[in-house]
């Protein structure tokens, strides 16, 4: 049961997660793109302004610097560029070949990325560098001198490093904003995904419920067909199948009821003429024994008498079976000493001498005495007739989770039952030794026994002993499910 359930849950999860994945991807992509664009624009703007002001500065300073510059000239450039008086904590540096001047003591030429230095030889370039955990924008500007180079590149570069704190804050704000937007978007998407998945799966779940009800035997289960999609088709197919099943079952039921009713009717109809015949059997028996009778007539009388007896028994058994089939068999329980009951059953049929018993005293149980008698008599009768001595009858109790059970075992040393016929012993009219048993029994004994045991909510098993012979085990609950026959 958990299998299909887990699968269905899996389907829902899968659908939802697919939706969610798409939504999350869309949200994240949007956020990422937006972020990137915004960040680029922001940085660009920041850079542009820095670069522009640096270049302006450098251009303003350049004419007043001699070429080729010496250390002092570089220092002057640095100082002039830095005299902006800004609050941006610029670090300014200038380099020419091996010369290096900077406003920051610790800034060495190595701190300027090589790529930037190479590029800044020719054009204004910038790059972001990380220094002491802070992102800086490093701008490199090549200095062109009017004289004597006439605007030719001089090999002097001015670097300005400016911390991008504000930008970083803005960037963080951007990330925050993106996250703030993306997470609720993803959560909302999750909810929507679940709702959508639920909606898609609702008909599937309805189908599942309906299938289960059908499996439970409620063949009148039908699905509501909505729309024209594949699921609606499926629902329609389901309804057709259920309807077909229902029809089929109804037909089978009527056929079965008719068959059973027929058996009951036949035995009922047979009973009346049999009642008349049975009443005179003893008269026939008596006269057949008379000496003056023609031997043929006497034999005929005996035959009619014996066969009438057999027919009576058969009809009796059939009627008993019909009563079980019709659900008309009632249990009249009485509490009794089981060992005593078994002994009485055997004694009433003069079997006590032929049977070895192991009957512990003091086992009391609620059973229908008459039906219990039938069960024991059939089992022991079979053991004596189909099996061989010694026939053993054993009694015991077993404590189980659902209460105390009475266990009765009837074993014999006969041929036992063929392995493939073990379960057939309880079938109606089944006789394993069909050739031999033709004149002996009807083959209804075990079927009636089984019904009687079932009526007690008990179990019966047939098995073979490892050392030969059949063993039948009957288990009956110690207490009957219904009240003990109680008088007003």
């Amino acid at each position: 049961m958990t299998g299909p359930l887990a699968r269905l849950r899996g389907l829902r999860v899968r659908l939802a997660s697919a939706c969610l994945l798409v939504a999350a991807f869309a949200a994240l992509a949007t956020a990422a793109l937006t972020y990137r664009e915004a960040r680029t624009a922001m940085l660009q703007r920041a850079q542009d302004s820095v670069v522009r002001s640096v270049r302006d500065r450098v251009e303003a300073v350049a004419p007043s610097v001699p070429f080729p510059p010496d250390q002092a000239a570089l220092e002057r450039i640095v100082a002039l560029v830095d005299t902006r008086g800004n609050t941006d904590h610029w670090i300014v540096a200038a380099g020419y070949r091996d010369l290096w001047a900077t406003t920051d003591r610790v800034l060495t030429p190595d701190a300027i990325p090589t790529a930037l230095r190479t590029t800044a030889d020719e054009v204004t370039a910038f790059q972001r560098v990380e220094r002491e955990g802070v992102i800086w924008l490093a701008v490199g500007v090549p200095v062109t001198f009017a004289k004597p180079l006439n605007g030719v590149l001089s090999g002097v570069q001015v670097y300005v490093l400016t911390p991008m704190r504000a930008q970083m804050q803005e960037e963080a704000a951007l990330v925050r904003a993106a996250r703030k937007g993306a997470i609720p978007a993803v959560l909302l998407a999750l909810v929507l995904a679940l709702v959508v998945a639920g909606g898609v799966l609702r008909p599937v779940r309805a189908l599942q419920r309906a299938t289960r009800r059908l499996a439970q035997g409620r063949l009148d289960t039908r699905l509501q067909v909505k729309g024209g999609d594949e699921l609606a088709d499926l629902a329609r197919d389901f309804n057709h199948t259920a309807a077909a099943l229902e029809q089929h079952e109804a037909r089978l039921r009527t056929m079965e009821a008719r068959a059973r009713g027929f058996a009951a009717d036949v035995s009922h109809e047979l009973r009346t003429p049999l009642a008349a015949m049975a009443a005179v059997i003893n008269v026939l028996d008596e006269d057949a024994a008379a000496e003056h009778l023609d031997p043929d007539t006497a034999a005929a009388l005996r035959l009619v008498s014996a066969e009438t007896g057999k027919l009576t028994r058969l009809v009796d058994d059939l009627m008993e079976i019909s009563r079980f089939d019709a659900g008309a068999a009632a249990l009249h329980v009485d509490e009794l000493d089981v060992a005593e009951a078994v002994r009485r059953c055997l004694a009433a049929r003069s079997w006590s001498g032929a049977v070895t018993t192991h009957l512990p005293e003091g086992i009391r149980a609620e059973v229908d005495p008459r039906r219990f008698d039938v069960v024991v008599a059939n089992l022991v009768g079979n053991a004596l007739r189909h099996g061989a001595p010694p026939v053993e009858v054993g009694l015991g109790t077993e404590r189980r989770a659902d209460g105390v059970w009475i266990v009765l075992r009837v074993a014999d040393r006969g041929p036992g039952l063929a392995a493939d016929t073990l379960h057939r012993v309880f079938e109606r009219f089944y006789k394993a030794d069909s050739a031999r048993a033709r004149s002996v029994g009807s083959g209804l004994g075990m079927a009636i026994t089984l019904e009687n045991v079932r009526l007690h909510d008990g179990h019966i098993r047939a098995a073979n002993r490892s050392d030969g012979g059949a063993v039948f085990t009957v288990e009956l609950p110690r207490y009957a499910r219904i009240e003990v026959t109680e008088d007003a």
Binding site: L274, A275, A276, V280, N282, R370, A377, N378, G445, T485
Partner: protein
């Protein structure tokens, strides 16, 4: 029921009967006294078969086919015992049984069909003393007739009297008085009361009572006992009070008293 669960297969005990009535004739079981049996059965073949069997047994038998006829036969034929089919045209067997009970204590054995379980209960409640299931052999019916009659026959004059509370029992005259007034008990009720009161305080299982009172097998139909106890209580116990004379011992059976 099946092969081994049937009455036919059981040995039948036929003990001596206290007093011989009317003429003796030779029947299947030798020297039993003749009994006047009124057979009320609607199916002519069954009625004839049973009548043949009963006559062979040495009984004077009168056959009636309807309930009305049967009741008329009770007066006209003066039977010792009635064998009554329950399914009758007109007044059915239950009603016939009730009317017979109202009029007196004639022993009644009812004939039932195996598949009509409720009939047994209703028939017993209507006052039948015992029942046999059709098809029935004459020998089995004979055994039942003997058992039912054994419950009632007594030729001894009124003698020793036992007093239990308000009840006065006379085991030889077979009379029961309650507060000095005679109570009419059907044969099975009387026999049950005598069996239980013979050992006050002793518990009898339904099986024991089936054997001793009805001469049924120990593992027989315990409804016979329960229905009879019910009828007996109506006659001897105080209404709306817990049973005093015939007490139920749950899970074991019944006992008389203790008072």
């Amino acid at each position: 029921m099946t092969a081994f669960g049937r009455e036919e297969d059981r040995s039948v005990t036929t003990g001596p009967i206290a007093a011989a009535k009317r003429v003796r004739r030779r029947g299947l079981f030798d020297t039993e006294p003749m009994v006047r049996v009124l057979l009320i059965e609607d199916d002519p073949a069954v009625a004839e078969g049973l009548a043949i069997g009963l006559r062979r047994q040495g009984h004077a038998t009168d056959v009636r086919h309807t309930g009305e006829d049967g009741l008329a036969g009770v007066a006209a034929f003066d039977p010792d015992l009635i064998v009554l089919d329950l399914m009758l045209p007109g007044i059915d067997g239950f009603e016939v049984c009730r009317r017979i009970r109202r009029a007196g204590n004639l022993p009644v054995i009812m004939l039932t069909a195996r598949n009509e379980d409720m009939d047994v209960v209703l028939g017993l409640e209507a006052g039948a003393d015992d029942y046999v299931v059709k098809p029935v052999q004459a020998r089995v019916l004979e055994a039942r007739i003997r058992a039912v009659l054994r419950r009632t026959e007594s030729a001894a004059p009124a003698g020793r009297r036992e007093v239990h509370g308000e009840l006065t029992l006379d085991r030889t005259a077979l009379t029961v008085l309650k507060a000095g007034r005679p109570i009419a008990l059907a044969p099975s009720e009387l026999r049950l009361l005598l069996a239980l009161s013979a050992s006050p305080g002793q518990v009898f299982s339904r099986g024991q009572l089936l054997e001793s009172v009805w001469e049924h097998p120990y593992l027989g139909d315990s409804r016979l006992v329960d229905a009879c106890v019910k009828r007996l209580r109506i006659k001897i116990e105080e209404p709306d009070r817990p049973a005093r004379y015939i007490q139920t011992v749950r899970g074991f059976g019944y006992r008389f008293g203790p008072l």
